[in-house]
């Protein structure tokens, strides 16, 4: 594991200096993937997440083992590929992170603020140093849990539920938000993810209305980001793209973030889930 982190650091440091030709970068990442095939750094997060699920924490000194992620209390296998979904006890459509926050409150007795603290991890050199969620040496319970729970859906078919009226509403609102252009750059998600085969600099942009692209995009998050030496979740991916859009900050586990994820999950329906993956 130590060696992986060193390799990740070296690669992160050298990537920007390499010949900028896209094929080279792509090849480098492929080579790195090969090297990591035996031990994806995400496994470290997954192992910690599994431990945390069973650990008694919070004012109630309780574990999360009775947490209902949609398939019944304590069922983790296959839960991720069925999310986001409507939960009758909260009356909300929830993705994994917002659901985990609910369980941290109801089962472990944390306050909602405590449950949402440090949603994103930051053990490596964080790319965005002013982000209050990350910083050298800061672990995120949420990120660790997400890594493990997602890994328990590896190889399964992405099959979000959109039958309940509120699920349908979240999907439709997510679609509207995808096309919502605003801010000083006039950006909407559609600006960068609306056409096939486009790039920003050398980064390939998935077209989210194209099933194959969406399946690949949705099916590979959470992911271990080589450029950051850090595991990141789908909530983080939304937060980060929204930041680049020059929008105000997207609140962690907010309804807009869940609506966007619901829309993406539905676009990716039928794809094979293969995360936590290794990302650029």
């Amino acid at each position: 594991m130590r060696i992986d982190r060193v390799l990740a650091g070296v690669l992160a440091a050298t990537l920007p200096c390499l010949s900028p030709a896209q094929q080279d970068t792509q090849k480098e990442i492929e080579r790195y993937r090969q090297m990591l095939q035996e031990s994806n750094p995400a496994e470290l997060y997954e192992a910690r997440g599994e431990e945390l699920w069973k650990t008694r924490r919070g004012p109630r000194n309780a574990s999360l083992e009775r947490c209902d992620l949609g398939l019944g209390p304590g069922v983790v296998k296959g839960a991720y590929v069925r999310l986001p979904r409507y939960f009758a006890d909260t009356g909300r459509v929830q993705d994994l992170e917002s659901r985990l926050a609910t369980c941290m409150v109801t089962l472990q007795g944390f306050t909602p603020e405590e449950a949402r603290r440090k949603p994103f991890s930051g053990t490596g050199a964080p790319m965005i140093t002013t982000d209050p969620f990350s910083g050298v040496g800061q672990r995120s319970v949420m990120t660790d849990l997400v890594a493990w729970i997602a890994s328990e859906s590896r190889g399964m078919t992405i099959a979000p539920s959109v039958s309940h009226p509120k699920e349908r509403l979240a999907y439709q609102a997510g679609e509207r938000l995808f096309y919502y252009r605003a801010g000083p750059y006039d950006f909407g998600c559609v600006t960068c993810h609306g056409e096939e085969g486009k790039r920003i600099r050398l980064q390939n942009l998935p077209k989210m209305t194209n099933a194959k692209d969406a399946q690949r995009a949705f099916g590979t998050w959470p992911g271990y980001r080589v450029s950051e030496g850090e595991l990141r979740s789908m909530q983080w991916r939304m937060w980060e793209c929204v930041r680049q859009m020059r929008f105000p900050e997207l609140e962690f586990a907010s309804d807009a973030s869940i609506a966007l994820i619901t829309y993406l999950a539905k676009q990716a329906e039928g794809g094979t889930f293969d995360a936590p993956a290794i990302k650029r």
């Binding site: 010949s19 900028p20 030709a21 896209q22 965005i128 002013t130 982000d131 039958s163 309940h164 009226p165 349908r168 509403l169 979240a170 439709q172 609102a173 509207r176 938000l177 096309y179 919502y180 252009r181 605003a182 801010g183 000083p184 750059y185 006039d186 950006f187 909407g188 559609v190 600006t191 960068c192 609306g194 056409e195 085969g197 486009k198 790039r199 920003i200 600099r201 050398l202 980064q203 942009l205 929204v242 930041r243 680049q244 020059r246 929008f247 105000p248 900050e249 997207l250 609140e251 907010s254 309804d255 807009a256 973030s257 609506a259």
Partner: protein, 207 residues
């Protein structure tokens, strides 16, 4: 069947129909949900205030007609956007292409992680090929390599180029290119440097 049972049956059927229908929320319901989310799910951070989420006319129209843009809407947007273009009072439309290259390379500006006092870049390479040497370029916009060589540097081309950077939607409604001048991202002077980058004979763009 008793006549008085008909309304009851109709009511029951209606109930089923309404339930079925409720699984597909109406447009107005969706609009309300989105408006609620725009209000509740974002927070001001640094220079990125929540006011940025309020759409101007062009943003609202482009979001609404994201699929296909009707001709009259498109014409209306271009006319209104054309009227916003302010040319430099000096009358000089081109500056220094070296400055222009620096601005084109820089992707900073207007994010809540950017220092508000630092001038924004143009992030042109994020979407365009420009000089031949820079291989790390995006493809959302067309290649601008040899832009000046192909179009020349006449007064009309200078005006078009300045105007495109100032407000891309004056000539292309709902363009994916930001309206750099109109939205206050780049200054008039910065834009003249970019015009030089695109049109100057000595610029790497035209080599």
């Amino acid at each position: 069947m008793q006549p008085k049972m008909i309304p009851a049956l109709a009511l029951a059927l209606c109930g089923i129909w309404v339930a079925g229908c409720a699984t597909r929320p109406s447009d107005s319901e969706t609009e309300r949900a989105v408006a609620e989310m725009i209000k509740a799910s974002f927070k001001t951070r640094g220079q990125a205030t929540v006011a940025r989420l309020n759409q101007d006319d062009a943003q609202a129209l482009c979001s609404k007609h994201a699929g296909e843009l009707p001709k009259d809407v498109s014409d209306g947007i271009e006319k209104a956007q054309q009227a916003t273009i302010r040319y430099p009072s000096s009358g000089k439309l081109t500056g220094d292409w070296r400055e222009g290259e620096r601005i084109a390379q820089s992707g900073v500006g207007k994010q809540f992680t950017d220092a508000p006092t630092r001038p924004a870049g143009g992030s042109c390479y994020n979407c365009h090929q420009l000089s031949k040497q820079e291989l790390s370029f995006g493809t959302i916009g067309p290649s601008l390599y040899q832009f000046g060589k192909q179009r020349g540097a006449s007064e009309a081309i200078q005006k078009y180029t300045y105007g495109k950077i100032y407000n891309s939607q004056a000539s292309t409604a709902c363009s994916n290119m930001p309206r750099f001048g109109h939205n206050g991202v780049l200054t008039e002077e910065q834009i003249t440097h970019l015009v030089a980058l695109l049109l100057d004979h000595d610029s790497p763009v035209n080599k």
